[in-house]
Subunit: 433 residues, 2 copies
Amino acid sequence: MSRPPAGAPLRVALLGCGVVGTEVASLISSQSDELASRVGAPLELVGIAVRDASKPREGIEGTPLAELLTDEAESLVRRADIVIEVMGGIEPARSLLLSAIESGASVVTANKALLAQDGPTLYAAADAAGVDIYFEAAVAGAIPIVRPVRESLAGDHVERILGIVNGTTNFVLDRMANEGLELDVVVKEAQALGYAEADPSADVDGHDAAAKAAILASLAFHTRVRLEDVAVEGIMGLTAQDIAWARSTDQVVKLLAIAERTAEGVVVRVHPALVPSSHPLAGVHGAFNAVFVEARSAGELMFYGRGAGGQPTASAVLGDLVSAARHRVLGGKGPVESSYAQLPVLPASQARTRVQIRLDVQDRPGVLAKVAAVVAEHGVSIEAVRQAPGEEVAHLVVTTHEARQEALDATVEALREIDVVDTVVSVLRVEGS
Amino acid sequence: MSRPPAGAPLRVALLGCGVVGTEVASLISSQSDELASRVGAPLELVGIAVRDASKPREGIEGTPLAELLTDEAESLVRRADIVIEVMGGIEPARSLLLSAIESGASVVTANKALLAQDGPTLYAAADAAGVDIYFEAAVAGAIPIVRPVRESLAGDHVERILGIVNGTTNFVLDRMANEGLELDVVVKEAQALGYAEADPSADVDGHDAAAKAAILASLAFHTRVRLEDVAVEGIMGLTAQDIAWARSTDQVVKLLAIAERTAEGVVVRVHPALVPSSHPLAGVHGAFNAVFVEARSAGELMFYGRGAGGQPTASAVLGDLVSAARHRVLGGKGPVESSYAQLPVLPASQARTRVQIRLDVQDRPGVLAKVAAVVAEHGVSIEAVRQAPGEEVAHLVVTTHEARQEALDATVEALREIDVVDTVVSVLRVEGS
């Protein structure tokens, strides 16, 4: 990596000027003295690339930053030491970052969609060019999770990651639990409050969480995990009754991103799950995010904070900017992402989990025996059976011990078919116990 | 920093071979291939300094590691590229680390007592010699907190840190809350279980937490905070009744290490405090640690995990070892600790906090008016007054709004003197709301 002359300013280019970009630009200019003292050289913002530089922008308009707006992104990245990308989307972000890397700039990006789809291409390009790529803001906003996984745990082995990495769905599930409301009502409320988009499908269908899961799994297991390797199930099938039942059994329902290393390989999945109320993830409320990590030596760790928003995301971007800038000034470079472990990535059917199955059954002798026989036939063992109180039909809740997802799926299918079962009311995985 | 020839092994010296040292030595030897691939060069453990090399050691005895034991610590550190210090105590750890730095080695230490007392000397020596000093394991064991504060938040401003950084006292308070037991009973139980030392005073008197608070405050505020700047109050004055009262008002009692930046300077203190049950710190149970950070842009963050133990501490040491070793191979160096901000460090009397005062008072008209008048005379305003149920004498609980500690202290003194107050039963600060 080339070093600028001592004390010479580092040229920083910003791609994108939405909520996060505006905040990043303001912080770079308002904290210039402090950043210079932390980096060892001043940072000079040399341009802010936007689609239409003539359009006035709130927070920028009327400030010296407005002079920096440009729609010449391609030439901007070629005259920068460090390029910060907060525009989002796949193109032109991908091409611009590759151009930046090619011309010797270090890059900082908050773009989870791009990293989940094509992170390894960017990591390899940065490695080949000897420049840094930092992306703390791409996963769980302000929460330092990428740096701890890449660096603090570099001498340990991550066994499992359980993350609440989507604030919108966590807000929705929390409101359902607190108010006893149905999901569609709460989603509308979240939209009205600005917590959910007009089209909330990326959040509620789990795709946002899946992108973050793919990035985290790749880092944690040194293995290339693609977005399409992640099995995704959103929260739309959940009912107020599911949440109430969870509560009555001292559990909460959370949308979890789960990445595990098993003896056979890596499994990555996103789905709603029952979590015991005593688990640290159960205390993550509202739009907060948290990532729970199980490592061989470190044991259980959890990282908690704001997963989105202009200021929190900008904080993560600035931390990365300082790291990359220090390397320009002092030499050295940040960690290299490589997929050296190349563990097999398995389908979610190979995951081991537990399920809680709620059944409406006929109210006559021998029903439990029949249900238990079907479960046993599939090689699944039962941890507990409860009869739910206050129901008109007999309501049976079967909680299994850990088994392979495919065996659990087959068990549920078989239960649907037997005559004593009227309805399989719900099936929820149980995690974190 | 000098670079070894590409691919040449890095010489690692280990000082200390207790629980943590044994674990570190085992991990370095058992994971040598993986560490080499992460570092870019093999790591060679060249010696393990102990007081008496002839004494057999569990976990080392009979393995090739036993060959590395030496009591020649001084010569060992002079032939290493990286020195790991896990011996604890001030001397000879301090002199050995300074020798190592002088002879050009990077250092990794888990020694909180040394850093709290004399960290800035070591940081300055490392900076002058151009070598790394890493110390993730010195604060909150396995929890990555030093790296996030030094690096992830390098473009942000930490406003406040609230930490549960002593597992023994957290275990004790948790047991008191769950079982309704008195403190001395639980401390004895913790000793029997090995969670508390035979002499538990460093834990229960808050001195262990104070050392960690001094280190964290120095990092977070770029200001030299000495151990003697930390106002310390332990948990020995707490009663089962305090804990029960907290519970009945939806609060928990935690021993907190608090470091704050105020308009006038930095205040650092350790004391028991009431924390609302809904606060993320309230969910930190047993011997776990957590550090809650409030930063200007990032907002609220929390870092949770095991604060002690051989394996968790070794995980943190190995993460630091990889960082330091990568810098030897690739050039560059880790963050430099300097006290460039030089904020004034204020006594705890200048902290702003809230208190909950429980009083036994005479049961006659006008009592509340007299109490309220005394509080108001000291410029303190009352948030709430409650009459505790089921007491023989009238029991009054006064919760104040935020005020300066010295005004709150004067208020309590004055309440002790007025005739309507029989006893000031307890005074607890309220934090995290």
